[in-house]
């Protein structure tokens, strides 16, 4: 085999690497290896001058292989591949040695770190000799997009893609879009009414020709890859014919289960019937029959008062679930959050004392179309004289969620203002740190302070009932005193948590989740909207708790990502795939069952296995299982791996 001309570049990454690894020594040692014609170390390889240096060496010195010892390939391998291609060398004739995340950042002893870095570079050099040029595979992009989750960030993403002239399938688990925001009354910091700013967007979604809205639906299967996903969706029956239903609500008032079923939308503060309209501004403004509580659907015996009451004859009990299959180019996840169940912290008395409610329940109370039509009332109907708001219930807590849920401080200040506004009660806010991070937030906090709200710097430790009155027990840490403050109502601002089905959704889409259970982004700082799976993007609280402005911004960002690949019309996909040498394949069929994408088929005439390289994703499981060694995975074949192992252990 003719000798290769290998260029090795050791990056200092400022002091990130060179602070621990002696880059000069590694460069010097590696230079001694045969076929290494260029060995240089430089402060920032990923910078323009760094990349220029590589390009020049390729051109002038005729390098045919390049090794870059720097950060993780997951970070800059695409950058350096483009650099090689810029100099006319195939991007896959490159191997990166991860001497930052896997060496300098995790090793104290400099001498050991240098030794470890050198062995990784040796492995890379031995491996790169066996690299073969691989052409990037480009695939056409279907110009449709699937948005999972109809909350504010899902709506924003859907509208933006639709307005750009492309088809969107918006899949929403509940019977209506608007998500948690639809439940709010006012929003901070401007006290805009949530309905006023959200409803127009919901209506746009309902009327947009490019958006196909599927409510009561969930994704059950995702196949394919970026640009060519096939998404299977199960739509649960609503038992209402959408075309006929006018949303008049007669069925709801006729239903014999009227005011007997806790209404989820009102967080249990009101009761509804089995056939009902979710809420007045719901989109779609259509009735739905709750098959968990409708007497006819559960026990087959009911007077069917609703059918009689429905002028439009829209009720149809033999609707059944339908399965849809959508071909889409990309998927945007905007599934939102669930609230921490305060029952898990019994010391706050949620579910035991009447007037202890959580944030969403308070939102419903203050909402004009809510159960109390906007009046803040106690269980006995009277107005509270004093209200407490407790921050960080289930957040910033080792026993529940370690993270800060980011929005509760501002929503608590908003609650305090609303209480002052509606019923001029004394308001006590128990906080640890007042986090007013957004535009106009500090000013809003300042204004509410001046409205005479008592801000007690100390986490509410317990809510007791003494002589029939609720008492919030906490330490006023600025006074250094234990205090028991009697109030009529307590609002617990509970943590924002991942959806209860987040694990199932992550597995269905093949993405991973970070330690706190939210979906994991490619890079927490530089790439918060994409995931490591090309073509699947994140928006809103499903990635981590955030306020409405950030959710909307991420909705737009995710839409931009989808529109980008639609605009280019084609997208590069990982060219790594397996191939079978039919000369060596004995047709033993062991590999066929190993491929979950069914990319391997037996050719009936030749009785040899064959791989459809378009479908193959390059995992290599079949290659490891083939007893004849007939299957080779490009860029990860046996010789390359064995050579690298030999190198790193030298």
């Amino acid at each position: 085999m003719s000798d290769h001309k290998i260029g090795v570049y050791v990056c200092h990454c400022g002091s990130n690497i060179n602070g621990v690894v002696n880059c000069a020594k590694v460069t010097e040692e590696i230079g001694k290896i045969g076929e290494v014609v260029v060995a240089k170390d430089y402060k920032y390889m990923c910078s323009d001058p760094g990349q220029e240096m590589i390009k020049n060496d390729i051109k002038e010195k005729g390098l045919d292989r390049v090794v870059i010892a720097a950060c993780s390939p997951r970070m800059h391998e695409p950058t350096f591949r483009r650099a090689l291609e810029g100099a006319g060398l195939n991007g896959y004739l490159l191997e990166m040695a991860n001497i930052r995340e896997h060496v300098s950042w995790v090793t104290k002893d400099k001498e050991e770190a240098t030794k470890k870095a050198l062995s990784l570079v040796k492995g890379a050099v031995k491996r790169v000799k066996l690299h073969e040029p691989i052409e990037e595979r480009e695939v056409p992009v279907t110009n449709t997009t699937l948005v999972l989750g109809g909350g504010i960030s899902g709506i924003q993403a859907a509208l933006q893609v639709a307005e750009a002239g492309h088809k969107v399938y918006l899949i929403e688990q509940k019977q209506y879009i608007g998500g948690n925001m639809a439940k709010f009354d006012k929003t901070f910091p401007t006290l805009d009414c949530a309905a006023c700013i959200l409803t127009p967007k919901m209506v746009d979604v309902g009327q947009s020709p490019n958006i196909e809205l599927y409510t009561s639906s969930e994704v059950i299967k995702v196949d394919g890859y970026v640009g060519n996903f096939t998404v299977t969706v199960r739509e649960k029956p609503r038992y209402i014919n959408h075309d006929k239903c006018t949303g008049c609500g007669d069925c709801a008032s006729a239903c014999i289960m009227k005011n007997r079923i806790p209404h989820e939308f009102d967080e249990g503060l009101s009761k509804r019937s089995a056939a009902y309209i979710p809420f007045p501004q719901a989109v779609p403004l259509k009735a739905v029959i709750d098959d968990g509580n409708c007497l006819f659907l559960t026990r087959k015996k009911c007077t069917l008062a609703c059918v009689k009451a429905c002028g439009a004859k829209a009720i149809n009990f033999n609707q059944h679930e339908t399965i849809h299959e959508f071909k889409v180019g990309s998927i945007i996840l905007a599934t939102g959050f669930d609230l921490f169940d305060a029952k898990r912290a019994p010391q706050y008395g949620y579910g035991r004392y009447a007037n202890v409610i959580n944030g969403l329940q308070f939102e419903r109370m203050t909402n004009a179309s809510g159960p109390t039509s906007g009046h803040i009332t106690l269980a006995d109907g009277t107005e509270p004289k004093s209200v407490a708001v407790i921050h960080c219930v289930g957040s910033r807590d080792e026993n529940y969620n370690k993270y800060c849920s980011r929005v509760c401080c501002m929503s608590s200040v908003k609650f305090a203002h609303l209480v002052k506004d509606h019923c001029d009660a004394e308001v006590y806010e128990f906080y640890i740190d007042m986090r007013t991070f957004g535009k106009g937030y500090e000013e809003f906090y300042n204004r509410v302070q001046e409205e005479g709200v008592h801000f007690v710097r100390g986490k509410g430790a317990e809510v007791a009932q003494i002589d029939g009155r609720l008492v919030v027990i906490a330490e006023d840490t600025l006074l250094g005193q234990y205090r028991e403050i009697p109030v009529d109502m307590v609002i617990l601002n509970t943590a924002l948590e991942p959806r209860v089905d987040a694990e199932k959704v992550a597995q269905t889409l093949g993405i991973s989740r970070s330690g706190d259970g939210f979906f994991m982004e490619s890079h927490i700082k530089l790439d918060p909207v994409t995931t490591t799976t090309d073509g699947i993007y994140l928006a809103g609280c499903c990635q981590s708790p955030k306020d409405i402005p950030d959710s909307v911004a991420q909705g737009s960002a995710a839409a931009a990502q989808s529109l980008a690949i639609i605009a280019t019309g084609k997208v590069k996909i990982s060219p790594i795939s397996a191939s079978i040498d039919s000369e060596q394949c004995a047709g033993c069929r062991i590999c066929i069952g190993l491929c979950t994408y069914r990319a391997i088929k037996l050719n009936e005439e030749t009785l040899r296995a064959e791989i459809n390289e378009a479908v193959c994703k390059g995992c290599g499981t079949c290659a490891a299982g083939c007893p004849s060694g007939a299957i080779r995975v490009s860029h990860f074949n046996d010789d390359q791996l064995l050579a690298q192992i030999e190198g790193v252990l030298a």
Partner: protein, 181 residues
């Protein structure tokens, strides 16, 4: 021999997470006797971290802990504050020559004396020893309750003890010396 009071506390089992405290006051809010404390649990932690060793060890508040572990359970940072209170009492007991509150000192001395010698406890005997150590008039205060307990057969006058007193006294002495270094 320690850099500061914080690292001293952290060197003892149970004290390791004290630097994680965010001064949120949940411990004070959960403590059933903090209403009577000049230095609340949260404040004790900030005093420790401010290296004010004498203020902490001489304060009476550390002896008001009923050891109900409510602060340990609810602490959002996972600090075992009940164990820290024990550490503070150990240090105070070892170093403070005089203890203002006779009641506390007398009771602990009486209890420890019985345990180290006989390994078992009899409440009546404890109360008597405690009263003699503090002030005999206390016996009169306890007398009515003592009588009721006697009538109900809930007072025994035997001097309960483990059989192997030698072994018990040896291990307690070894623990004392070892703990004392």
């Amino acid at each position: 021999m320690f850099k500061d009071f914080t690292s001293e506390i952290m060197s003892y089992p149970g004290g390791e997470k004290i630097t994680a405290c965010m001064q949120c006051g949940t411990c004070t809010g959960s403590c059933p006797t903090s209403h009577a404390m000049q230095y609340t649990p949260r404040r004790l932690i900030s005093l420790i971290r401010a290296n004010q060793r004498d203020t902490v060890l001489q304060s009476l508040d550390i002896w008001k802990c009923a050891s109900c572990y409510s602060c340990t359970t609810r602490c959002p940072r996972g600090i075992k504050f009940t164990d820290i209170m024990y550490i503070l009492k150990n240090l105070a007991w070892k170093e403070q020559s005089k203890m203002e509150n006779k009641n506390i000192a007398g009771f602990y001395n009486a209890f420890q004396g019985l345990i180290e010698k006989r390994g078992r406890m009899n409440e009546a005997e404890l109360i008597m020893k405690y009263s003699f150590q503090t002030n005999p008039v206390k016996l009169l205060e306890f007398a009515p309750l003592g009588m009721k307990m006697l009538l109900k057969g809930r007072a025994a006058f035997s001097a309960p003890s483990v059989r192997n007193q030698v072994q018990l006294q040896k291990i307690m002495k070894l623990a004392q010396e070892r703990g004392g270094e």
